[in-house]
């Protein structure tokens, strides 16, 4: 599954917030998008899903295996979301409906796209809970979001995203709201799941240290423009653009938190 974005321009409230971004995510790639606040990275994610907020519009091209997503009808887009593109969004505190049990939410995508019956939903939820290594999957599916920790909730969100084995896993700052230890655990989970499922990963973050761990190719966004792209190793070793250099410096400045012994992934 190849995701090709060409000349993506997003206008929001009269301003151009993403200005001509191009990138290609080849089949099975681990692609990172990095940029600071307001660089347009989250809007790019929403544009791929066709879920731009009201008042924002996108032009250009976003193609999934040659099928154009921009301007696609809402009903067809809804079939692609969840089934071919799995999504994990930023904040695990708010990503789950507080009134529904973990099990119902885990099974929701599968139920929605007709992959499991009402009766099979619980088994599916338990399967997904163990897939993302939630403790006591049989019991946790009966709990509510407020009874889980932030890291556990993010695992639930990841489980929902992976429910239908999507070809592309789109994640927007999935570890930003987590503490460092939990962040490392969730990253190793991504590592393992992407390797197991063979999905392409599009990982959006502001933290280069995280990308260095999870992705191979990186695109650097700044103020809505792509300023640099290439293999993550090269960017770390020899950043060409000042923005990239700034990100590298920032990552190095905080890297003592991650420079201890590598956690057992």
């Amino acid at each position: 599954m190849t995701l090709v974005v060409r000349d993506l321009v997003i206008r929001f409230g009269g301003r151009t917030v993403v200005d001509g971004v191009d990138f290609t995510v080849p089949d099975g790639a681990r692609f990172g998008v990095i940029g600071g606040s307001g660089s347009g990275k989250s809007l790019t994610v929403l544009a791929i899903l066709g879920l731009l907020p009201e008042g924002a519009s996108a032009t250009g091209s976003i193609a999934l295996d040659g099928v154009e997503l921009l301007g696609m009808r809402e009903r067809e887009l809804a079939r692609i979301r969840g089934r071919r593109i799995g999504t994990v969004l930023q904040d695990p505190q708010t990503a789950l409906d507080p009134l529904r049990t973990i099990g119902r939410q885990l099974a929701e995508p599968a139920r929605l796209h007709g992959a499991v019956s009402r009766r099979g939903a619980r088994a599916e939820a338990v399967r997904l809970a163990s897939l993302v290594r939630l403790p006591e999957p049989e019991r946790i599916v009966d709990r509510y979001p407020h009874q889980l920790s932030g890291g556990q909730r993010q695992r639930v969100a990841i489980g929902m995203a992976l429910a239908l084995s999507p070809a592309v896993l789109l994640v927007d700052e999935p570890t930003t709201a987590l503490d460092v230890t939990t962040q490392a655990e969730v990253l190793s989970l991504f590592d393992r799941l992407v390797a197991e499922t063979g999905a392409s990963l599009v990982f959006v973050t502001h933290d280069l240290a995280v990308l260095a761990r999870i992705s191979t190719e990186v695109l650097v966004l700044s103020a809505g423009r792509a300023v640099e792209s290439g293999p993550v190793d090269r960017l770390l070793a020899a950043p060409q653009h000042p923005v990239t250099a700034g990100l590298v410096a920032a990552a190095r400045a905080t890297s003592f938190t991650a420079s201890g012994p590598e956690d057992p992934a």
Binding site: L51, L99, R100
Partner: protein, 286 residues
């Protein structure tokens, strides 16, 4: 919403009181449809203004009607108006709120303005206007409270829907492929339900109060329909002489309205898993 909510409801004192009073109201309304101790409209000029006795549990009024039978029979009117008004108010409120929050852009602003304009009209004023046109009836009370309180619900619910629609889980649900209709029924309505429940129970209380008030003024229940408010109106000239008689319909109104509010509050707490404080739940947290 899980199946545990009835137990949660009965764990709260307000919930118990609300449930008991509403149950009494419902039972008496059902029984009164078929049977009352005496004919609530039968007058008896030889037994006027009697105090409570074996024959007349709550005494008799100025034309010798049995007050207990009348109050008993009027519970049916109160319950009918409360239920129907809340139903109308709920539908009016949710539809207006959904259109005002999620509808096409060109429609939202007009709906918001419409809500604000209608809120300016008090329920009683709408009812008196309708009554002037259509003549006093319970239908007019139901329509007036339904619209009058419906716009109140709409204003609150619109804000709530907009708040929930911006939340992470709605975006996550959309990203999982849920359509706008399913998002409304599966995520938005359940999450604004606590607010709706309180508003609906308030509207039931307001309906009982409005029906009583309108009937008191002669704009509500026609003379052929027993009503607490109408009885109060009949008794008001003599309240300084026979205060006890007027206590009964007044008590019925007060207790019913209070029960509606207590029930709503307790139900809201019981249906929201975040507000539960049961021992079992607490132990299960990690």
């Amino acid at each position: 919403m899980s199946a545990a909510w009835p137990r949660e409801l009965l764990r709260r004192p307000g919930g118990v009181l609300g449930v008991v009073v509403l149950a009494v109201l419902i039972v008496s309304a059902v029984v009164a449809t078929f049977w009352t101790p005496q004919d609530p409209f039968a007058t008896d000029p030889f037994h006027r203004w009697q105090g409570p006795s074996g024959a007349h549990l709550l005494g008799t009024d100025g034309v010798g009607r049995d007050v207990f039978s009348y109050v008993f029979a009027a519970s049916r009117t109160a319950l009918l108006v409360a239920v129907l008004s809340s139903l109308v108010a709920g539908v009016v409120g949710v539809v207006l709120a959904a259109v005002g929050a999620l509808g096409p852009r060109w429609l939202r602003e007009p709906v918001a303005v419409l809500i604000d304009v209608l809120i300016a009209f008090p329920v009683l004023l709408i009812a008196i206007m309708l009554s002037a046109v259509l003549g006093p009836s319970l239908t007019e009370v139901v329509v007036a409270v339904g619209i009058g309180f419906g716009v109140n619900i709409a204003r609150v619910a619109r804000g709530e829907i907009r708040r929930v629609a911006r939340s992470g889980y709605v975006l996550a649900a959309r990203a999982a492929g849920l359509g706008p209709g399913r998002v409304l029924t599966d995520h938005l309505l359940p999450n604004i339900a606590p607010v709706l429940i309180v508003q609906l129970s308030l509207s039931a209380g307001v309906a009982v109060l409005s029906e009583a008030g309108l009937s008191f003024l002669g704009y509500g229940a026609p003379p052929s329909t027993p009503s607490w408010g109408r009885l109060l109106g009949d008794l008001q000239n003599y309240v300084t002489i026979y205060p006890l008689t007027a206590v009964w319909p007044g008590l019925a109104i007060t207790v019913s309205v209070l029960a509606c509010n207590l029930f709503g509050d307790a139900l809201r707490e019981a249906t929201d898993p975040r507000l539960r404080t049961g021992r079992r739940e607490r132990r299960r947290v990690r």
